[in-house]
Each structure stands twice: as structure tokens, then as C-alpha cells.
């Protein structure tokens, strides 16, 4: 299974605009009308890495070849659910909320 970076042929450090350009180029070569599957693959690759939020989400939640049953089994058999590292947790938090909202942590804005 190819990663979205591989599908769009961009580096993992690519900027938003580089990713966007790569996406548009791929779409131009593979219009939805010609090959549905290919387009959908390109589009979902783009959706999963188009900005910092989606990239963090992708990094955190994307298990290669996620198997529903295997995951369920794992969840039930593991007595102690594996802990997310503090670093990951912080990233997750940042990813899930808007940057502006995150400023609430700023002392100036927490006067109340």
C-alpha cells in the first residue's frame, strides 16, 4: 500500500503549496472521468496530507492495512491499552483544534 506521499510523489517535508501543485498535476493527468479509482486514490492522498492538521492526523492514525477484526481483537486481548506518548498527545491536541483556539493557552487570553 502506497503512502499518500508516494502517490503524489512528494517529499514528506513538502510544503502545502508543493503538495497542492503535485495534486493538481496528478489530477490533470488522471481526470475523474477517465479513471475513477485512480482519481479517488489521488484525491484521498491529497486530503490526508494537504495541510498541517491533516498531516498530523495521518501520521497519528494511519495504520498500514488496518484490519478491523485484528484491531478489535487486540483491543480486547490487551489488558493495558498502549499509551500514547506525551509528544504524540500534544500533537494530536494541536491537530484537532484550530490554531487560533489553541491561543487560549496564552496568558493574555485567559484573564477570566
Amino acid at each position: 500500500m502506497k503512502s499518500p506521499y508516494e502517490i503524489l510523489e512528494v517529499a514528506e517535508q513538502a510544503t502545502d503549496s508543493e503538495i497542492k501543485q503535485a495534486y493538481l498535476q496528478k489530477v490533470k493527468l488522471n481526470p475523474p472521468d477517465r479513471d475513477h479509482e485512480k482519481f479517488q486514490q489521488i484525491h484521498s492522498a491529497y486530503e490526508s496530507i494537504k495541510n498541517v492538521t491533516s498531516r498530523e492526523n495521518h501520521a497519528l492514525f494511519n495504520y498500514p492495512e488496518a484490519d478491523f477484526d485484528a484491531l478489535l481483537e487486540q483491543a480486547f486481548s490487551t489488558a493495558q491499552p498502549s499509551l500514547i506518548s506525551a509528544d504524540h498527545f500534544d500533537k494530536l491536541l494541536r491537530a484537532s483544534i484550530d490554531d487560533k483556539t489553541f491561543l487560549i493557552g496564552n496568558p493574555k487570553m485567559t484573564t477570566a
Partner: protein
Amino acid sequence: MNEIIIGIDLGTTNSEVAIVENGQVVVIADNNRKILPSFVGIDDQGDILVGESARNQYLVYPERTVKSIKRLMGQDIQVNLAGHAYAPQEISAIILKRLKAIAEQHVDQPVTKAVITVPAYFSDAQRQATREAGEIAGLEVVRMINEPTAAALAYGGSQVEQKRMLVYDLGGGTFDVSVVNIEAGVVEVLSSHGDNHLGGDDFDQQIIEHILDHLQETQGIDLRQHSKALARITRAAENAKLVLSDQPYAKIEEEYLLEHEGAAIHLSLELSRIDYEDMIEDYINATIDAVHIAMKGAKLTPADIDEILLVGGSTRTPCIRERLYNEFGFEPHSEVDPDLCVAMGAAIQAAMISGQEVNAVLVDVTPYTYGTSAIAYLNDEYYPFTYVPIIHKNTALPNRKTEAFVTNHDGQEVVNVTIYQGEDPDALNNIKIGEFLVEGLQDVEAGNVITLTLALDLNGMLHVSAQEKATGLEKSITIKNAISRFEHGALDTAKQRINKLFGQNETIRAVVKNEAPEIVEARKLIAKAEALFDISSDEDKEDMIDLIEDINSCIEAGLDGRLQESVAKLADIIYYLES
């Protein structure tokens, strides 16, 4: 050679057909007219009329003429045309058949495939009805594309720089707004919103009501039941609307609307643009609200928009430009012809599908959220019809999503899958678009996993399948027109019925075809004159009858010089009567 696929804009008021020829988009003209009014009628001989001639006949024989059929597409109703009942699909098919013939004459070979545009906000049922209309007309609808998107494609193909555009499409019967990003040869729709029943027809209706109220007050007569007078008032209202696009006042005058208690009823009324704009204010407000929703859907603010593209004849209403200027701070674009750009976009897409090289490719979205209902918590209560959205609005097409559900009680053998379109957390407040049962599930405890897959194709049509995970037992449906689905046989019957209507006409045309162009023109003029009989004075009518007799005898005797003379005289009278 690539096979020919034509692009069709099947509008509420007007329709057009276009094609890409040698890399150029051409809107095909019929008798020098690129616009075919979306009117269908039956004439005295029982022959079918489509376009201008049907539009003219509407004044005299409203009961034999159908207009704005697009408003009824997807509904399970029939319209009456000269004593016969037809489904909206059949009437639309008649218009499509005419457009097909216009294209065939232009390319000089049979045409069997088309890209047809539909309003972005057209529902599944309306899209299905459009496809059926194509089939009845003998056209395979290879793709349906959204009207604002088609317009953006026509305009965007030639753009080099990146542009974010708002497409405001107000037609005769429908309103759509789309936010589009044009970049690197890709026309990418970011969001769409709209209203299926809002358009220029509603503006006309406001003026019509105003005129009827005026006649009620001044003459004490209610004309609502007089179909002929009403048809003339409708035309007068449309004309007044057009005048008000350029002028601050419009005079609405119709003589001899009818006789009432021995006295002739005339209509004479002045309408100011300000009063007119008051009448339609609510409608314009609704369009601006939709603009806000589309902007929110695209996560953009007015400052992010580089251009506004106006589509549809109703955008000529001056206050629309004004309102958009107030919202965005700049004037909408007017380079692209608002009447033709949709058909042009359809032709470009058709060329793309047939394998020709085109400047721009299209990525469109669905304006609707689709989902199912399940037992879940809603407002802290266990509720059996909690809406579970699966494909969210403004998702790129095509799209396919799968969700897992579990059975609710032990030994549950059947699940009922209901599909809804809408946003409300309570599924019952959304539009139910289809439902089916998955039967014969395993006799196991509650928690049997059922996966539900929703796939939205490029035409914006939904395909649904559900599967019992453990056994692979599957049930699938294509959400077709759940309310007025034509069975396959019925579609064939409709096709024959419509063909027959045209058949009568085609034999006549075959005779006419061998005649000199002057004679063909003369015959057309005669038909036009005859359509005007009922609204002309006795004196004019007599003159016309004399001239028609003269023209007919000239044709028989081959007297070209005198024919021209009589034709010119008849044309003068017609011109006078029509103006």
C-alpha cells in the same frame, strides 16, 4: 475519428446544444438562433412544435403548449398537452430530440451520446429523470455535469493564473452557487449550494400577481381562470422584467385581453424598477444567503474570491449585481455569455470524455450530505432515527465510503437500511431517498456487523450496498428515482410515443426539404401568421389570409418575383403584430 458527443444545456426557459470542433467550442445555431426556448406544443394538425414556434403558440393555445417543464422533473406527475398526459421526462425528451436533430444537421451524421447539464442542487430523483429524458430522446447520457461547474469550465479553460471564483447561476427555475478554484488546468469545485425552485419564473410570477391584482382593483375582474388572457399577461410580465433590466420604468400594455359583460378589457400599467425590486427582494435575499453557505462550505471569506461569474438569464437583474458588489467589493464578470456558457462547458466535458485534448479538467463536489439512520443517542436520548452521515457535502466526486453497523437484538434476521439526504441530526427531518431490507442474516447475538457502502458517481447519483460481514451476504441498490421510476418497458413505450409525435412532423419536413429555401421560409412565415390569427384584428386577419392564399398559389405556379413581394408584405404584418 472520435465519436461525437454533444453538450446540452437543458434549461427551464431556454436550451442550447454545443460541440467542440477543431478545438473550438461552437454553440450550434438553428435558423440563426443559438437559443431554443424550452417550449413544447402541438399545432392544429397535431404536429409537434418545439422552441420559438411553440413559444409563440403559447399565447394563443396555452392548453396545447407546455413551458418550464424542468421545474417538474423528478416529480411523479403528468402534464396535459393537447388532451394527452405526459410525464415531465417525455416533454423534456421532446426538447432533447429537437436539440439532437439540430446537432445532427450541423455535423451531418447521427448523434447518440450527450453530456447534459443539471443544476448543482438537482436531487437524485431529478438527475434520474433527466437521464430518462435523454433515453427517451434516443440519447445516451454519458455524463451529467452541474451547470455552474460547466460555466466555470467554459470560462476557466483559458485561464492561466490561479483564480478563486464564485459562480452565481440564476436561471429560469433554479438557483445554484459554487465556489471554484481554477489552477494549473484543473477546475476544482470547492463547494456548492442552491435552491431547486428559485428562478426568473418566480420573478415573472410576482409581476403577474401584481398585474392581476391591478386588474381586479381597476376593472373588478379576476383573470386567473382565463387561460388565454393569462398567457398574454404572462408574456407581458416577462417582457416588463426584461425592460426593467435596462430601464427604470416599464409600460405593460395589452389591448383586448378579453370581453367582459360586453366591454373590452385593456391592460395599461406602469411598473417601476424600484417596485419590481421590492417584489423580488425575498428571492434575492435567499440567493445571498446561499452564497454565504457556499463560502462557508469552501472555508473562504469574500476577500479570497478573485472573480464572480454570472450565469443564467436572470442574472441580468440589476439589483443582483448591486448585491454582489456589496458583498464582495467588485463587479461580477461579464465576458462570458450567461446564456451560452453552460452549453459550452458541457461540450468541453463531452470532448474530454470522447478523448479529445482539452485545456481544463474538472473536479466537482456533491452539494448534499448522504447518510443512514441508526439507533443511537440524540440529545441525550436513545433515538431510533439518529442520522449517521456517510458522505458529507462538498466531497469530491466520485466518492465511496463504508461504515460499519451492528444488529440491535439477538437473532435479528433483517435490517432495514434507509438512505437520507440532508444535514439534520434527526434523520426524519431529512429527505428519504431510498430504503431496502437485508434479509436472512445469521441467527446470532446482537452485534452482528453489517457494513454499509455509499458510492456517489460522477453524475452525482448514489449507489448503495449493505453486507453482512461474517457471511458476505449482500444487498445493493442504485438510488434511482424512487418516486417516479420509469420501468424499463415504460421507457421504451415512452420512446415510441415521442417518436410517433415526431414521425408525423418528419414526413411533412421531408417534403419541405426538397423545396427552395425561399419557399421553406414562406411556409414558415405562413405558420407564424396562422399562429397570430387569434390575437389580430379582423382586418389584419383578412389581409393575412389573402396574402397566404396568394403565396400558396405563387408557390404552385412558380412565380418567384410575386412570391417575394407577398412574403415581404406578410412579414410586415407579422412584425407589426408581434411588436
